[in-house]
Symmetry: C2
Subunit: 511 residues, 2 copies
């Protein structure tokens, strides 16, 4: 860990020091895939908002790298379009920011072309009079990552562990073996603390708030264990279907695309033990402890704990949705699941016997990401049978990640009046209501963290592999047992019937 | 316990069965103090609302008893004025209800005049063809209670423990000795289950909800103990001063008028163990357990745990308030406290070492009754010192009884943004918001309970005496140590400075 990190490690919290504005060092950012969608929609808007908020260092440059032909001016103009369309702030000092952007046309497979990178770094160093930090953002197809990383490792300045960092986008591997292989490759070229495996879910404000909720409060933590929790549900639902992402998705599927990374990370945040500090490795140790405690699923129980499905044709919110198999780039006998639900057990003292149900899917009823902690029922023997039979509900803590951003506590209250009725009621804290418009985008948070050298919210090699290990038995079983027909579900539903049975056979229902 | 009670005891919950509407028996209610204020403002409006809601039995009669001269018509007209002024419903079938009301002019000291009561009961019995239940409501000055009870006990039908009940208003005794004496007297004349010592605070919806909150939910109960609670505050504040109640208040004071009864009862509801049923005696056993566990205050520590004060002249909310000693009926060297704050300790396994701070007063800043459960701080070592120093607050559950009717959970959340700030935020459940206008008045609830024979919300003899026992050392010390000048406080303040010191010396502050 570099000096900056070491100094900060005792006082960081998700990388955000009160004094974060003063902490970023002169930096050059290189975005591989600079002319691509992620930069257009997310990365440049995030950098621009960080700039407006004063988080970027005064000495800052960003270069897009791509195969297309752009002048600097044309490239800036293109990105300005991304700001207009996707930035949370459209207005601002764009003319001040734009000159920091340049474009490098490169063939990333040709190591000679990397000299342009060295040259830009040297120019900045000369202009600024200090050695800059360098950040490589690999927003490229996964098959390009090994080549780019190999070529970058040949640049001598890249071995400065303190100043050079690399962000690797998902998917990180296609399975455990390929993820391991990639880790070994990258680990041979760079130090682990230089590698930032990004999971943008972890940059979301409501996700970060899970740790604040759990560990800055005395109220919740005593209840977060098997003594009080009956089950946990984590749902990430989309209403849209494939929408042209056929090529990638067809070889991935819901389990790889969402559960292996985002949803298992949310599970870790709900289930992890309290870190002794918010030091990056300490937090990641506590999270990987959870992944390592996940009960291995044996091949013959996969069908009991995991459900897959594929949407047919229909409508979602009155919009027609073609069947998955009719989408472009999808085989007409595709076995790729667009819906997956898995029951995981975390075999440690805190969570033994408490099921964690994860589900995700495309073309579902509602767009929402949400965590529900369902508490065990209170002993109800003191209450009249009439009351407990009809109006009894147990307690629930709901953390809505998106698009709603709120925390809800469901409990029982007595309905006013002379007749006894217990009503389930809710207490709500709405982040949106309290802080309308103040929340940064996930990529802002994460890009700033990389610049600050804080890896707390990024995947360490062992985390990625532990997460792959958790889903591997399901992947293998599903690949080994192709079905003539995958269970289909109607667009606008909550997935195949089997997803409901996954819970009902345990006595629960999806919330 | 009478048969009806015995049958109901396994299924009641604060006396309110779903089927309560079918359970009231033909009843004659006699209100001693019929021409008085309580009947005018509270009792008749409550009975009228119960009638509108269909909770009164079809065969029902109510007779006001007083020394004044009224025809039935004139009496009904008077009470109609009370409905217009104080009923939560002004409209309604008054003409249908009014004929059920009659008036008996009686000298309550003259036992011959009680024949009128017997006569009315007999008339009802003849008219209705069944033996009615009879309810005596003693809304009279406390010195009249023994005489009335003695005379009533001479009526032969009053020995029917199942059908005849008596409601005794506060104050129940002036101190432990007089309360005990009254209990002995009443206990010699009637069975304990016939005697309903009323504390109207316990009829309030938000107070009843404390038990629902605690025992119908799995979320709160695990936290309600010394492991998690730092301290509990119970405040009942009034903005008004004496307003003409001089005679009674001057001989009573804040400790007797509020703390011995209402506030200690709220303490019991917060601190009691879970009852195994909502049977009246089971609930009252659990409550009296708390009172019996209150650490006796030794005479030489009274000044450390109890604060008294008297308001001077000033203004509350821009209205001039004369000094207490300038009020009519108050001695100009009065020692009566208009403010009292007491720290009680409950010496049992659940609450050992957790202070319960109770305070009440007249002419204070705000009219409100509220309970605050302050939780211990979370261990904050994982957080940066800058964060914990400035923005750290601990968790709090606030139950607002009146005029606000809500439950608030205060906790820490991360303020959105790249700069770390923890903000104290609130989740709120508002009874008013959820059930606007649906809540019955406390007297409705309590009168119906008496009619149903459910004594859960009423004081048993041993409860009253245990509560007196808890405050006796303070009463005796204060009476034995008259001060030349009581600590005074400005109207519109939160009481004398010593009330604040009572908490600050323990490291807490009033919320």
């Amino acid at each position: 860990m570099n000096l900056t990190c070491a100094h900060r490690s005792t006082t960081t919290f998700f990388g955000m020091l009160p004094s974060a504005k003063d902490r970023t060092q002169p930096t050059v950012v290189f975005i591989f895939g600079g002319s691509g969608d992620l930069n257009y929609r997310k990365l440049t808007p995030a950098l621009y908002n960080l700039y407006i908020d004063g988080f970027l260092p005064e000495r800052f440059a960003v270069a897009g790298i791509g195969r297309s032909e752009y002048t600097n001016e044309a490239f800036r103009e293109r990105l300005q379009g991304g700001i207009a369309e996707f930035s949370r702030r459209k207005e601002g000092p764009w003319d001040e920011f734009a000159p920091k952007i340049s474009y490098l046309k490169m063939d990333v497979a040709d190591d000679a072309s990397y000299a342009q990178i060295t040259k830009l770094v040297q120019t900045c160093q000369t202009d600024w009079g200090v050695e800059p930090n360098v950040l490589f953002y690999l927003a490229v197809a996964p098959q390009l990552v090994p080549g780019i990383a190999t070529n970058l490792s040949k640049l001598s300045f890249c071995h400065n562990h303190e100043r050079v960092r690399m962000v690797v986008e998902k998917p990180f591997g296609h399975d455990l073996a390929s993820a391991h292989e990639l880790n070994v490759l990258l680990g041979g070229l760079f130090a682990e603390e230089q590698i930032y495996r990004i999971d943008h879910y972890l940059g979301k404000e409501t996700v970060q708030n899970i740790l604040a909720l759990r560990f800055a409060n005395a109220l919740f933590e005593p209840l977060f264990n098997r003594n009080y929790v009956a089950e946990v549900q984590i749902t990430a639902a989309e209403t849209v279907g494939l929408e042209g992402r056929g090529g990638y998705y067809e070889s991935s599927g819901a389990l790889r695309d969402m559960i292996q990374n985002h949803l298992l990370q949310l599970l870790c945040m709900v289930a992890m033990d309290a870190p002794t500090s918010f030091n990056a490795n300490e937090v990641r140790n506590k999270k990987v402890d959870v992944l390592n405690a996940i009960r291995p699923i044996s091949p013959n129980e996969v069908d009991q704990v995991a459900v897959r499905g594929q949407y047919g044709s229909g409508t979602v919110k009155n919009k027609p949705v073609p069947a998955y198999r009719d989408e472009e780039g999808v085989a007409n006998d595709s076995q790729t699941e667009t819906f997956a639900a898995v029951k995981f057990m975390v075999d440690n003292w805190r969570w033994y016997d408490v099921p964690f149900y994860l589900r995700t899917g495309k073309a579902l009823t509602e767009k929402m990401t949400s965590i529900t902690i369902q508490f065990k029922e209170a002993p109800k023997l003191a209450f009249p049978a009439e009351v407990t039979a009809e109006s009894w509900g147990s307690n629930r803590l709901t953390i809505n990640i998106q698009p709603a951003m709120d925390i809800r506590l469901s409990f029982q209250a007595k309905r006013p009046g002379q007749v006894l009725d217990l009503d389930p009621v809710e207490m709500v804290f709405s982040f949106k209501g309290a802080y309308e418009g103040q929340e940064p985008e996930a990529y802002e948070t994460l890009l700033l963290d990389v610049m600050l050298g804080d890896a707390t919210l990024f995947m360490r090699a062992d985390q990625v592999e532990a997460a792959w290990r958790a889903v591997t038995p399901i992947l293998e079983h599903w690949e080994g047992h192709k079905l003539a027909e995958l269970p289909t579900y109607a667009p606008g539903s909550w997935g195949p019937d089997a997803a409901h049975e996954l819970l009902t056979k345990d006595g629960f229902v999806w919330q």
